[in-house]
């Protein structure tokens, strides 16, 4: 059976809205025709099949269940003494390879469990919506046949004005109920598509294998995480795949030599992340030399500002906006830190290669914030902060990871308007692209001097969004539902209304 496009659902909604607009003005004959049209519009069963959806969910549950013993078996093996059998770019020991593989295989069950739950929930919703559709269809049919009698002398007046009014109200409710039904179907579909994107984002290993990396390099990329988040997201891995596939054999050999010279899998992952960020191979090789042999804690502190969980900070100094009007600039800088380890290194390291102190770091950040503000506000007055278009331009100048950012305005008073843009923002985060969000205060907040504020969505996992606030440098978790309904009530950012998202193009 062919699938239905969202556009067809939108078309039905538009037609129903047109018909609804006729209710109060149409004569009874036209109204009867309109009701017939509404009945025709909602006559077809909703797209999708509940039984097949449940079978699809079961397939994920079964695969999760059958994969788990392999992860458990590998985990048991990793604790045993194993001979050194592994050779490759990363030169992992056998025990480390088994342990990493176990971790990787262990990611399947939660991801597939989430997919199964999402599909099951959608099946329930679809079943309920289909029951509603049948009820509405039946009630509209009854209404079309049980309406008040119409004057036969051609005056098109009801015999009983009270009955006519009641009947009209009932028909109006049924038509608006039909519109709500299809909006709910769109909402459920968008939610499921977002959940699929979330599950898809957990599978990051395949891209490396396609790029011709050895299995152990793929392993290290897939298991390299900072505070539970993959060091390279799907978008970066896809870009890495293209870059490595386009390399000459000589450059591939140079890169392989650099990876072999690295002293730890995490170091190798940072080298590959620098390449994915768009730097030339020569720059990456220089960078690899500068970080060679550094400890994991040094790498995460110096290259991800992730030495402390829950705060983007370096040596205890948080990455914060330098002035009241630089939350946009600071969000761009934070996005660059998250996507480009060479940029992060430039914030934390002096020209002589020495690590900066916390106060030197703060001064360096202030300098870069100001440069970013200058670059993104060529026309817009700096005293008003950064316009969303300026933030998009700033993202495209160094934090885009190959994507092209643009502005999507959000009207959070209209969920039909807001939801697709907000869902797209989450999908972008799932693909590994940080998303700046412009928040607006309430009217009361405005009256008390609260202004617009930018925050940055940095991650999404298990229904929770990680939000960086440039005012304090913190990374907080909020339910994605709190964001999708257009408000950010779970945490007080001062301005709860989502006004715009700056997202990569679809």
């Amino acid at each position: 059976m062919a699938s239905t496009a969202y556009d067809q659902i939108s078309t039905i909604i538009n037609r129903l809205e047109q018909l609804a607009s006729l209710i109060d003005f149409a004569d009874p004959v036209a109204l009867a025709e309109a009701i017939e049209q509404v009945i025709a519009e909602i006559a077809d069963p909703l797209p999708g099949n509940v039984g097949q959806l449940m079978a699809l969910a079961s397939a994920f549950s079964r695969a999760a269940r059958d994969t788990s013993p392999v992860g458990t078996g590998l985990q048991a093996m990793s604790g045993q003494k194993l001979p050194g059998v592994w050779q490759g770019d990363a030169e992992l020991t056998a025990s480390a390879a088994v342990s990493d593989t176990s971790d990787l295989v262990g990611q399947t069950a939660p991801a597939f469990g989430a997919a199964a739950s999402a599909i099951d929930a959608y099946a329930d919703t679809l079943s309920n919506l289909e029951n509603r559709r049948r009820d509405l269809s039946q009630q509209l049919y009854s209404a079309s046949h049980d309406g008040p009698d119409i004057d036969i002398f051609g005056f098109n007046m009801p015999l009983d004005p009270m009955a006519w009014s009641g009947w009209l109200s009932s028909v109006r409710n049924l038509i608006f109920g039909s519109i709500d039904l299809y909006h709910d179907l769109q909402y459920a579909g968008d939610t499921l598509a977002g959940q699929f994107a979330d599950v898809r984002s957990k599978a990051v290993a395949g891209a490396g294998l396609k790029a011709g990396m050895t299995a152990d390099t793929v392993l290290l990329l897939a298991t390299a995480t900072i505070n539970g988040t993959s060091l390279l997201g799907p978008g970066q891995l896809a870009r890495l795949e293209k870059l490595m596939a386009a390399m000459s054999p000589a450059d591939q050999a140079r890169l392989a030599a650099v990876l072999r010279a690295a002293k730890s899998p995490l170091e190798q992952a940072y080298v590959l992340k620098a390449l994915a960020a768009g730097h030339s191979l020569s720059q990456v090789i220089t960078f690899a030399g500068e970080i060679r042999g550094q400890s994991s804690s040094w790498l995460t502190n110096q290259l991800s500002l992730a030495g402390t969980a829950g705060v983007l900070s370096y040596n205890g100094t948080p990455l914060v906006q330098s002035t009241q009007t630089e939350c946009g600039s600071a969000s761009i800088v934070a996005a660059r830190v998250l996507t480009d380890p060479i940029f992060a290194y430039s914030l934390t390291t002096g020209p002589d290669g020495q690590s900066l102190t916390g106060s030197q770091f703060a001064a360096r950040v202030a300098e870069v914030d100001a440069q970013t503000h200058d670059a993104t506000n060529k026309i817009w007055p700096q005293s008003l902060g950064t316009s969303p278009f300026g933030v998009a331009s700033g993202m495209n100048s160094g934090a885009a990871d190959g994507a092209k950012y643009g502005v999507q305005w959000v009207d959070d008073t209209d969920s039909a308007n807001a939801y697709p843009a907000l869902q797209h923002a989450i999908s972008s985060v799932d693909a590994g692209h940080p998303v700046p969000v412009l928040l607006a205060p309430t009217l009361d907040g405005m009256a008390h001097g609260t202004s617009l504020h930018y925050v940055l969505i940095t991650g999404h996992s298990s229904g929770q969004l990680s939000i960086y606030d440039p005012e304090g440098g913190t990374i907080s978790q909020i339910p994605d539902s709190d964001f999708l309904n257009g408000t950010m009530q779970a945490i007080d950012f001062g301005a709860p209304h989502v006004n715009a998202v700056i997202v990569p193009g679809r």
Binding site: P47, V70, Q80, L82, P83, V85, R200, G206
Partner: protein
């Protein structure tokens, strides 16, 4: 769990277990792919099918990585077992020849 030392037989046992795991993963992947290869009529909406297919393709590749890594590990263990077996045979030969 019993400790398995570096005897040829012990390593061969590990190799067999790991190879069995790779076979298990192949079976799981094939069964899952077969059960999810026609999502259009189940999901109904084209955009959902596109998102589902992207998720399925990514996880199919993820299984390929599991299978590849685990297979390589099994092969590596088998090769190492053969090396140890040769060494054990050589050592045994030497031990036997000392007394002659």
């Amino acid at each position: 769990m019993a400790h398995i030392g570096f005897s040829a037989a012990g390593i061969q046992e590990q190799s067999s277990r790991v190879t069995g795991m790779a076979d298990d993963l192949r079976s799981v992947k094939q069964a899952w792919l077969a059960a999810t290869d026609d999502p259009a009529s189940a999901l109904g909406l084209g955009e959902l099918v596109t998102a589902f297919d992207a998720m399925r393709a990514a996880w199919s590749e993820q299984y390929d990585v599991y299978i590849d890594v685990v297979s390589q590990l099994g092969q590596g263990l088998a090769a190492t077992a053969a090396t140890y077996h040769r060494a054990e045979t050589t050592n045994a030969d030497r031990a036997l020849s000392i007394g002659r």
